[in-house]
Symmetry: C2
Subunit: 538 residues, 2 copies
Amino acid sequence: MRRFAADRARRAVAASLRAASSYRSAAPSPLAPAPRYPAPPVGAAALARTMSTAAAGTPPVSLNTINPKVLKCEYAVRGEIVTHAQNLQQELQKNPDSLPFDEILYCNVGNPQSLGQQPVTYFREVLSLCDHPALLDKSETHALYSSDAIERAWQILDKIPGRATGAYSHSQGIKGLRDEIAAGIAARDGFHASGDNIFLTDGASPAVHMMMQLLISSEKDGILCPIPQYPLYSASIALHGGSLVPYFLDEETGWGLEVEELKKQLEEARSKGITVRALVVINPGNPTGQVLAEENQKKIVEFCKNEGLVLLADEVYQENVYAEDKQFHSFKKIARSLGYTDDDLPLVSFQSVSKGYYGECGKRGGYMEITGFSPEVREQIYKLASVNLCSNVSGQILASLVMNPPKAGDESFESFMVERDGILSSLARRAKALEEAFNSLEGITCNKAKGAMYLFPRLHLPQKAIGTAQAAGTAPDAYYAKRLLEATGIVVVPGSGFGQVPGTWHFRCTILPQEDKMPEIISRFKEFHEKFMDEFRD
Amino acid sequence: MRRFAADRARRAVAASLRAASSYRSAAPSPLAPAPRYPAPPVGAAALARTMSTAAAGTPPVSLNTINPKVLKCEYAVRGEIVTHAQNLQQELQKNPDSLPFDEILYCNVGNPQSLGQQPVTYFREVLSLCDHPALLDKSETHALYSSDAIERAWQILDKIPGRATGAYSHSQGIKGLRDEIAAGIAARDGFHASGDNIFLTDGASPAVHMMMQLLISSEKDGILCPIPQYPLYSASIALHGGSLVPYFLDEETGWGLEVEELKKQLEEARSKGITVRALVVINPGNPTGQVLAEENQKKIVEFCKNEGLVLLADEVYQENVYAEDKQFHSFKKIARSLGYTDDDLPLVSFQSVSKGYYGECGKRGGYMEITGFSPEVREQIYKLASVNLCSNVSGQILASLVMNPPKAGDESFESFMVERDGILSSLARRAKALEEAFNSLEGITCNKAKGAMYLFPRLHLPQKAIGTAQAAGTAPDAYYAKRLLEATGIVVVPGSGFGQVPGTWHFRCTILPQEDKMPEIISRFKEFHEKFMDEFRD
């Protein structure tokens, strides 16, 4: 497994590496795999190759000479299990009867269109027109595009200097599009928003990196992150050389986020010499699917205010709420409703076109809204944005569209709503069907997905399965995921990639396979799981 | 000026910052502004505010607490002068008669379409169709799109799993598109290329950052960079905490790159304890416009091979060669023609859709081709790519198009060639006109732009002008650029943003204003310059 090979290589070349954060190594880490498992042969072989090359002469680049932060970084969502799945897929293409299934089902990553979700027609019409503005002058265009999409494309082009969709934009993004996003935020929250506070980015990930780059100087800088967490955070913190300060979500209470736990972990980190800079909250939760209650959010805001932390609010699933008793509230709305202004609390909200009902992952659109930073610090954030010139303009346009979709009275409104509600209600049904299936099985318990796109069921594995996994040098949930893939073609991510209470085992599974496939997937899954339990039952 | 304010703040808060690279501070730096100029009042005021805030209590984020590498990073292409220009533009919009010109001419950045260059029709047709694949099934589409664009869109969609242009792709980019790019590289060079070696990225900048992140562990790691250089390199090295090891291009010989100079600087760096990891070569040159000769390139390859350096070849201007006696050769072609294989030399070639005749900056497409890295190191590069999931799919498609444009016999071929050659020949004429204009003036000398999109004229400023600039706390070329902007609306970047031989002064000016505007721009420039010289002549 990649994780173990990297871990082993890390230890072996320790002399040439910087010391790992003393904080992380002192605490029992919920992220790192337990080091007592022996490394698998493949890792050792790779290591031996590396070592001998290094000893032999002067290879310009080897694992010994590259940035140790890169080695340390892990990103399980696209890790070993996915590479294995891609290899099986190639095998299937060559020899369709070679495996006990006829397709790979990628439930590892929130990538709706890869599993057949159709893009929202109106959004694509507008993008298509903006890509080829010459169409707007032609009468035939009206036969192919809805009239409000044509009108919207004109409006967008008028916001772009010189109507040049092929030009670098302002490094924060096109001003007129940022203003439109701000208007969408204001309509959502009922509080003022400004386009000057928006930084458009290629999806939310670069925005997260930008903030980590700003806030982290060394391993003495800590970032409070939920466990389980989306591994972008652990990866970005590792790449920037900081310390991830974990706080545990409470599985018993539906992945509850308790402020007492935040306080406890903050104090523990401080007692170890860590300066905690920021708190990451993912709401709705990834991989855990919970939706925070307003009262809970208020306490979190007060906590950040009192402790002097930046609140990094990952709100990319803001449209993905399935429980009828739940509603999304942005942290900015909560902070403003408490009376806190721009002067009181540095707050960053991340949003993406990859999620919601639109699921436009390939377009790489997103933004962060930053409030509560001084002009001097904002200037530094702007400088970071400017080094990459700007985010892609199609993604910028799409971000402005998802924050201001068609309105009642627009020609496309009805068909748009049919598409939107069709996707969201189907996602809710799929979440429920999967959750019920998981909970019907021996050795699995699963909280409801109230939002987002994932379930994070817990595996109560027989001791014999745990022992077998450990003997194979792999974490028990990684072993389970590998066996699941090889038996069914279903790709899930082991819980160890997200972090979990030590000694517990989980996996993350998206709710994204199309509905007509769901019965068969569930039946394949059940069949596998029952056999697995039969094989290992204590 | 931003640079000076940052510099001053840096010194003042030095106690809380990591020590700057001893190498860079020991050597006379061609990049940093001379520290003897007094800081301007604005910088001091900002600093005082910061200091008092810091003293008053616990601001979560201030210049004292953010990552000092971010403070250290500078990116002049979008720096102070551009912010000033944007403010003037807003002033013009409010009050069109308030300034001695009626528009701002952004010659600061290679952004052709912002100055009126039209996108290539065929490329945009294909992108428009791929954004809205439903069009492909409609007969009316043939009235609006050329038939080979329709055919190409089908081919591209067939390369994308599930035809899902809205899905995250493989983290290196869509395999079929990478294969197409590899075929384009092979056709260009006459040597094999593999899609497995291509990493598609959002423009070339993220690819450069990825390599710097891989290669730099600390300030003891050095990267050889040309001076003058494109400031992405100095910015990225600063952000990753490495040391820029400068080598000087020889202005006397048309910005020649001498291997003797490389050797000298390498040895000097090594004597200071720097491990030099890589050599950056920009060919055709930015900001200097030279095109390297084949013999010269061979020596550079041998130098990297002998010294164990990674060759980072910025080849984004490969289509922009204007001198009839010059031709672009990729470094990979040169290395292969010398008989070096994948095992001999780690080599990275950066390419972008932002340059060439296409100039599609806003699309953020690009790639790097990496060869000569071990499987273990490649795996680490892949991991870095995977943390950001993938680059934008429209940019990926466009990268495959520019590397495989229409061919003879295709319906669009003739009109495509008219557009392409029209742009390239016009760029050549504009480069010549600007260069002749600069050379016609007292106190300016300018090498020919044989390639790329810039001229980098040298200012031989009167001592009185230098003294006035220094008294105002600004570098003399920054002072000149500011005065030029305020008198003419023309935005250029001071040479100090790129680095230059200490005591010499330059500016970078793109050749991108449209041809019909060129006579007036030249006349405005001449008028300003003559007055400036009259004002300051010793």
